[in-house]
Subunit: 338 residues, 2 copies
Amino acid sequence: MLENRRFLLKRRPEGEPVPADFDLVSEPVPEAPAGGFVVRNYFASLDPAQRGWMDDVPSYMPPIALGDAVRATTVGRVHTSDNADFKPGDWVMGLNALEDYSPVMPGGFTSAIDVSLVDSPSRFLSAMGAVGLTAYFGLLEVAKPQEGETLLVSGAAGAVGSVVGQIGKIKGCRTIGIAGGQDKCRKLTERYGYDVAIDYKGKDVDTLAEEIRAAAPDGVNMIFENVGGDVMDAELMNLAKHARIVLCGLISEYNAPEKLGVRNLWQVLAQEATIHGYLISAYVDRFAEGGAQMAEWMAAGKVVMDEDIQEGLENAYPAFMRLFSGANTGKLVLKIAE
Amino acid sequence: MLENRRFLLKRRPEGEPVPADFDLVSEPVPEAPAGGFVVRNYFASLDPAQRGWMDDVPSYMPPIALGDAVRATTVGRVHTSDNADFKPGDWVMGLNALEDYSPVMPGGFTSAIDVSLVDSPSRFLSAMGAVGLTAYFGLLEVAKPQEGETLLVSGAAGAVGSVVGQIGKIKGCRTIGIAGGQDKCRKLTERYGYDVAIDYKGKDVDTLAEEIRAAAPDGVNMIFENVGGDVMDAELMNLAKHARIVLCGLISEYNAPEKLGVRNLWQVLAQEATIHGYLISAYVDRFAEGGAQMAEWMAAGKVVMDEDIQEGLENAYPAFMRLFSGANTGKLVLKIAE
């Protein structure tokens, strides 16, 4: 009999998640709900946002209920179906969970995908999925880059940040990326086309701010913020007048029991800058358009996106923690089935 | 012989200014510069922004040089002139300094004013000046209130905040004001027309956030931020989707050697809110339009603005410190001459 392994949230993490916050259980494979279907998950996206969903606090989505499988975007194939539009074997993607099989209702976040467009279905969780499109719409629709402007990206070696920098170059911007460690910084300039790479590791706010100033003496016109905390404080000391800040993530804060916060908000005032809280969900109805452009850029070799593929539901915890240890470069994906 | 008393910045304050940071000296009255004139200052505006100008940090204006008189917007009369457009006795206002006489070049921030419009020339430093117009343009042009929306104002009993609330009511908004102490809170509802007054004194972030939630269960559509720190953190826990935050001041931080910062910026992301760094200088060319509207509302009794008039250059230090002790309500003005 098929088993359905499920990676459950057992209790709410305090600060950094520990193994005891989770449980891996085996249950029977669910039946297709009336009018819906069951997905066999092949790949699951591991994202910083999932850490936020584990807290019992108001956010853009309800918290993951205790005892539920950890919510995740997955790519998979229809296993059993009570819906003529979704036949067994069809590839789909949607907001499901870290489990072998997910019962889903059609519509909303679960949609058919054309895997013939890509070399691996996991692409729909990276460049063609929410991550690539988070970079795409955040930079193009929120920051609105103009040719010749300077773009500063934190978490620049990460899944979103690496793509933001590459799209920035396509749009004629000077790009400065901040990442942790020499290996990542080398990747920024050699693989993602950043004009300048800055290593934040072991530097206080003042030192980091000075390095940014050296790279952008006239200030930065745009910040694509993935990190927050000290890194953001250093960035804020280097705003050009009317800078636009896309607030996409605050990964340095997600596990912090005592949030460090941002202390240089007064620079936003002084430089008449704007901070835009940004969620990709606002652009869901334009995913096809963005995905087509990303596919074209990838085919032309203008955008590369690395995937960090970890194997097996039994490794869900250590795989997830790679997001916070700085171990991963590129989009972190958990492979659930072959 | 006339003397020119000047309130000088002797050294840069560390945290809260102390008397030894300043010096009151007497110098000869300056000569009118070629093509310019000398102003006899009557009233000077005391504003939190002056504290920022005392620090040696990048901002929207150069720091006040050590040994210079403390920069201030003043209202006064032309004393001597080398410019036919500005005759002795004419009333003018401009960016001058805390001193009896200021040598100035015409144009830029120094312009003629019609004191017949008002009951006291000091009005050009309050309702008709940068303070009233900071409220006016910040609310109307940046926050863009819609009828029926909820507006939250911190520092609501202050010069800017009291006017923001009143204009919010004119525009059909529900207004919630945050201030320190029962007297100020009573003033919010009884004098400035706020629908709800919340006293932040002695409350931690969670308690304050709960009180705001009770007053605005569906969240606030706009925040007019004058305070920052803990107060802002509590506000950020109560954003409605797509809330607009006008970042006008961060008075709780100006004297803090260790800035507390804002820890709940993630709510800006989660609610897709926007923070707009706002300086009144962007609207200088529309001051006449705004001043006319403010004068009309004041004449109709729709907007009241309190002035806290302190007397004498010799009291410049204690007068200035009223901004930070919470002692003042209404626009703080230093009267320099009768």
